[in-house]
Symmetry: C2
Subunit: 138 residues, 2 copies
Amino acid sequence: MTELIDPVDRKALDRVVADLEAAWNAGDGSAFGKPFSDNADFVTIRAEHFHGWDAIAGGHAAIFRTIYAQSVNHCTVESERLLRPDVALMHVRSVLDVPSGPLAGRHNAIFSMVLTRESPGWQIASFHNTVRPPSVPV
Amino acid sequence: MTELIDPVDRKALDRVVADLEAAWNAGDGSAFGKPFSDNADFVTIRAEHFHGWDAIAGGHAAIFRTIYAQSVNHCTVESERLLRPDVALMHVRSVLDVPSGPLAGRHNAIFSMVLTRESPGWQIASFHNTVRPPSVPV
């Protein structure tokens, strides 16, 4: 069962992606963590599995100070659908430019997110990210 | 909101993972695709995004004949929770041993799945896989 997304929900879901992108580009770990639920699951491109808002916000604050300092992330929503009226599935392509350090260069990735509609609005319950190997065409 | 999983649902969800593992180890693409919904999303370790049963079953049939021929996959459920009474989120660790070819060796990965309860039972709506780089401890 897949439900159509009405324009209001689509706008709110796209806003979550825009907020993540803005938080990344501001190097703001706390803002990055904000759309996540307290017990969210987060799988990194290194297959690490973090749980909860604190770990997600804190982990991002750390990488924004170090390996991804001054990096610029550009996100494009590839697909979004409702699995239930209050459960959304999104797939987002990201292009990350890292200016310096061990990861300097451009990195392409795709992340999926599952969001649930809660009283404050849509919250991310699950985030999973995979980087595209250089051998795979964009 | 997270709901507890009752034993019947837990058994059914764990069975989906066991079925995927058995299908992989039998090299059976059709069986591998069976638990997926018709319009499922599938993200590979190469950040490729496939849609639908046909692409998932066909793609796996192809890799079972080639790069992953005779490989053995061992899956362990790491976590599972209900996002709604009829929507489950699972995280599964996999250890894949490939006997020969360009990918010979052991590969560790984590995949997440979102499953929805449909009339035939639990079906996979979303599957996302990330391989662990050798530099990351197990």
